[in-house]
Symmetry: C2
Subunit: 234 residues, 2 copies
DNA sequence: GCAGTTATAAGGCAAGTGTCTAACAATCGG
DNA sequence: CCGATTGTTAGACACTTGCCTTATAACTGC
């Protein structure tokens, strides 16, 4: 799967003339790691880099620096920096969903509890620290212009909503005698309610990202709970 | 990073052959513009660049290219590319608020109408096209690491919420006989409701940004309306 | 121990970037 | 019509980045 552009390198005359002998340079001693470990190192370093330096500072070389390896190693494990970025995105989506699923699993028979656990998971420090959300935002930007990112994004989105829907569909029906009130605030189609709740999550993520002091962790979760009650317990 | 347009090769052979004196006529003709026009050109080009190329492709030189001026001009009007980015952010905030304010102004006595106009304004194609939202996301990322951006962000946030609050406070009180239902979905503190609605807006922005086909313009507005009814017309 | 394997480091190169500087020319006052 | 002002261009420089290639050294099995 290389298919890189053919590089018609003109074999410059006398390539041997250059003394390739290492000038007794002190080569760093290295601890050899298994490919999987190194790959993970690079993936992690990418997230960290995105978080600390933003998209502009996240260069292949910087990632390697952060991972403590030489810049040549990136190419050894990934086609190029963009590819590394993409795989990091895939990984993050996967981890995130797994984390949420695990968090709501114990609440099989308690939909409200599951919903709460969902929110807690989504705002958990490990998976949605301000820093990591910064990485998400970089990925979101890629979604718009790159097809591979868009595909992953769509899949992630669908799976996340499916999780939500599964919980919500088990909630007790919204209280019998609904007078429909003066405003047409009657029943909300499930898809709409999910879409709104999903938007609340994303929006609070951003708020939290922009300033975790302005809208701290606990308040985000509380707001999610309230929004859910408003949407589903009318 | 980012492979882009192919580069026209102009291998001028003799570096010394070209004297310091301009080689007669290689210089582009220029139309001289007023400082304000040129500044605006550059600011606009920045947004456009962010939208088209994302943060990584938005370099000082690229902005100038897009604006149709030489790269030296940037420095003539701005301290450096970062400064240009910052001023673009300020401008965008200012314009956005002005646009929203103008949109809701005609609905002084009709809070529900004003709220709807608010949503329409926020999702108006001119001010929140998918492309422009891309620019917003770049700016958001700066907020976290740069103090000047954070200050502008906070101010913008406060002003936007003040606008919302002004509308919401004029809504008719939430329908007399509130049975409080089986769930404690009673009254929501104003600040909480505003925060939630605000999150819905941001979240739908992202949704819209990620795929305007998945969540098109009109649906975003409809979802906002529904969320508002749920939050304020219980 | 000593091959062979291969993870890893490091250097070179072309291209692009930000910053600076000097030159040029469009416009204006006279 | 000319000289001053200053908007504007374009070249130079140091540096960084991505990509490629080669040398090196840390492990492997024998």
């Amino acid at each position: 799967m290389m298919a890189d552009a053919p590089v018609p390198e003109i074999p410059e005359a006398g390539p041997e003339t250059r003394p390739k002998t290492r000038p007794a340079g002190a080569r760093r001693r290295v601890k050899r790691e298994s490919p999987l470990v190194r790959r993970k190192d690079l993936l992690d370093a990418t997230v960290s880099c995105l978080a600390r330096l933003g998209p502009r500072g996240t260069t292949g070389r910087e990632i390697c620096r952060q991972a403590g390896v030489s810049h040549g190693l990136l190419r050894h494990y990934f086609r190029n920096p963009d590819n590394l970025l993409f795989e990091t995105y895939e990984q993050l989506c996967e981890d995130m969903l797994a984390h949420v699923e695990a968090s709501i699993a114990p609440f099989e028979g308690d939909p409200w509890g599951a919903l709460h656990a969902f929110f807690v998971a989504v705002f958990s420090d490990d998976w949605a620290s301000g820093d990591i959300i910064g990485a998400w935002m970089v990925f979101w930007q890629q979604v718009r212009t790159r097809d591979d990112f868009a595909i992953v994004s769509t899949a992630f989105n669908m799976r996340q909503r499916a999780l939500m829907e599964r919980i919500v569909s088990r909630l007790p029906p919204p209280a019998g005698p609904h007078p429909s009130g003066p405003q047409p605030s009657g029943h909300l189609p499930m898809a709409d309610a999910i879409a709104i709740l999903s938007a609340v999550l994303d929006g609070l993520w951003i708020e939290y990202y922009l300033s975790d002091r302005r809208t701290p962790h606990d308040r985000c979760i509380a707001l999610c709970d309230q929004a859910a009650r408003r949407l589903f317990a009318a």
